[in-house]
């Protein structure tokens, strides 16, 4: 029996990625990373800034996401996100710009703890990208 399932990543403009031969996907859910295998129970969750790792038989793909919603049902993983890019095509300028804008946001006084947490996390992830 195969242990593969489908993944659909869509952003508002278009369908970003659609594959039917992945065996594991690791998503940065808001309460921690979740690894999803075939026949996972139906789940709905949302994402924090992080890396989505898609493992298929032949390759591994990494995507950076800022936010989004994931739904897993009937062996199809749907990821809805408005900000996503492939780590391979990561633009150094864009990444450093995002870091500085997030840091600028952090330096403001009027942000709540949850937002501060998310922003800190975002900066961390982005910095780890720019090192690689």
């Amino acid at each position: 029996m195969s242990n593969l399932f489908n993944i659909d990543i869509v952003n508002p403009e278009q369908s970003f990625l659609s594959k039917d031969n992945v065996f594991e996907v690791v998503i940065p859910a808001v309460e921690g990373e979740i690894g999803i295998l075939k026949d996972h129970i139906p789940i709905i969750s949302f994402l924090k800034p992080g890396i989505i790792r898609v493992f298929s038989e032949s390759e591994e793909q990494n995507f950076y996401v800022e936010d989004g919603i994931v739904e897993f049902k009937d062996n199809t993983l749907s990821v809805l996100t408005s900000s996503i890019f492939d780590l391979k095509d990561a633009d150094k300028n864009f990444v450093s710009e995002s870091i500085s804008s997030a840091e600028a946001e952090l330096s403001k006084d009027n942000i709540d703890d949850q937002k501060r947490f998310l922003l800190n996390h975002k900066v961390e992830v982005l910095k780890s990208i720019s090192i690689n």
Partner: protein, 293 residues
């Protein structure tokens, strides 16, 4: 009776107008294809979003404490209307149809003595509404600068709506736009986005046996998701609108080109007739002059 010279001038002017409308038609046709593609590409996102929300709202048992964006504030005194129109004219009845639809809604609200607030997106809508409803318009947004429709713009509108909702500035929110059916037909739509109206008829309850695991709990996901859904709905409306606008402009310009062609034909016949009449008149004068000798 216009002189020969007048006729000739009119023919040239109609012909050059025809050239413009023809060019506009072709530009619209090219843009239409792209807009249509974009609208189709954007559909999966809003559909999936709808599905997730539907599944979520099914699993919410405690309706009392559900997020207000979903169930409403319990009142419906203040209505906020988002009217999405184009930034350019010359596209047939496109803008007028949306305005007409919106106006009939406005009249209903006003006659029921409820408070009306209007946000216009797109400058044409503002131009047409400011005469009659100036005092109701709270905001006027235009995306003339952005060449393509992007989610970022839609999100801006969405954020304004959320902000207003959190300040309790309205109870019910509806958006008005044109739905693209085909090149000739665009249907003006009125869609309520706050509170969310579920389409009960098109989904059967087969999804009910799916027991989802939620992380974190339903409420938190919903309150995170609903604001996004508003932006998504606005984005969808903007995509549909842009396809409709181009379609509408294409048909309008096609008609204009054809009408100009007919007008040129008619004017040419008139021009030839009066030229012939002048020649005949001159001949008669010459002949009768020769006869009298």
């Amino acid at each position: 009776m216009p002189s020969l010279d007048d006729l000739r001038k009119r023919i040239t002017s109609v012909k050059s107008t025809q050239k413009i409308t023809k060019a506009m038609k072709m530009v619209a046709a090219a843009k239409l294809r792209k807009a249509q593609e974009n609208a189709e590409k954007g559909r999966p996102y809003s559909e999936k979003m709808n599905n997730v929300i539907l599944n979520l709202s099914k699993s919410i048992t405690d309706k009392e404490n559900a997020p207000k964006l979903l169930v409403g504030t319990g009142e419906e005194k203040v209505h906020l209307c988002i009217v999405l129109t184009a930034d350019r004219g010359l596209c047939g009845g496109f803008n007028t149809n949306i305005i007409k639809k919106a106006k009939s809604y406005f009249e209903k609200i006003i006659s029921e003595k409820k408070t009306l607030k209007i946000i216009t997106v797109g400058s044409k809508g503002y131009d047409q509404l400011k005469r009659q409803y100036k005092s109701y318009i709270v905001e006027n947004i235009s995306f003339k600068e952005s060449k393509n429709i992007n989610y970022f713009d839609a999100d801006k509108v969405g954020k304004i709506i959320i902000e207003k909702f959190e300040k309790n500035e309205f109870d019910v929110c509806a958006i008005f736009y044109n739905k693209f059916k085909n090149v000739i037909t665009q249907i003006p739509q009125e869609q309520q986005i706050v509170p969310l109206n579920e389409d009960k008829d098109d989904k059967d309850d087969s999804g009910n046996d799916n027991d989802y695991e939620f992380e974190p709990d339903e409420d938190e996901i919903l309150s995170n998701l609903l604001p996004k859904n508003i932006s998504t709905q606005i984005f969808k409306a903007m995509l549909e609108n842009s396809a409709s606008e181009q379609g509408s402009r294409m048909t309008a310009m096609d008609n204009a080109t054809r009408n100009a062609g007919e007008l040129v034909d008619r004017l040419t016949i008139e021009y030839n007739r009066s030229r012939q009449a002048a020649i005949t008149k001159e001949l008669i004068e010459i002949i009768s002059g020769a006869e009298s000798l």
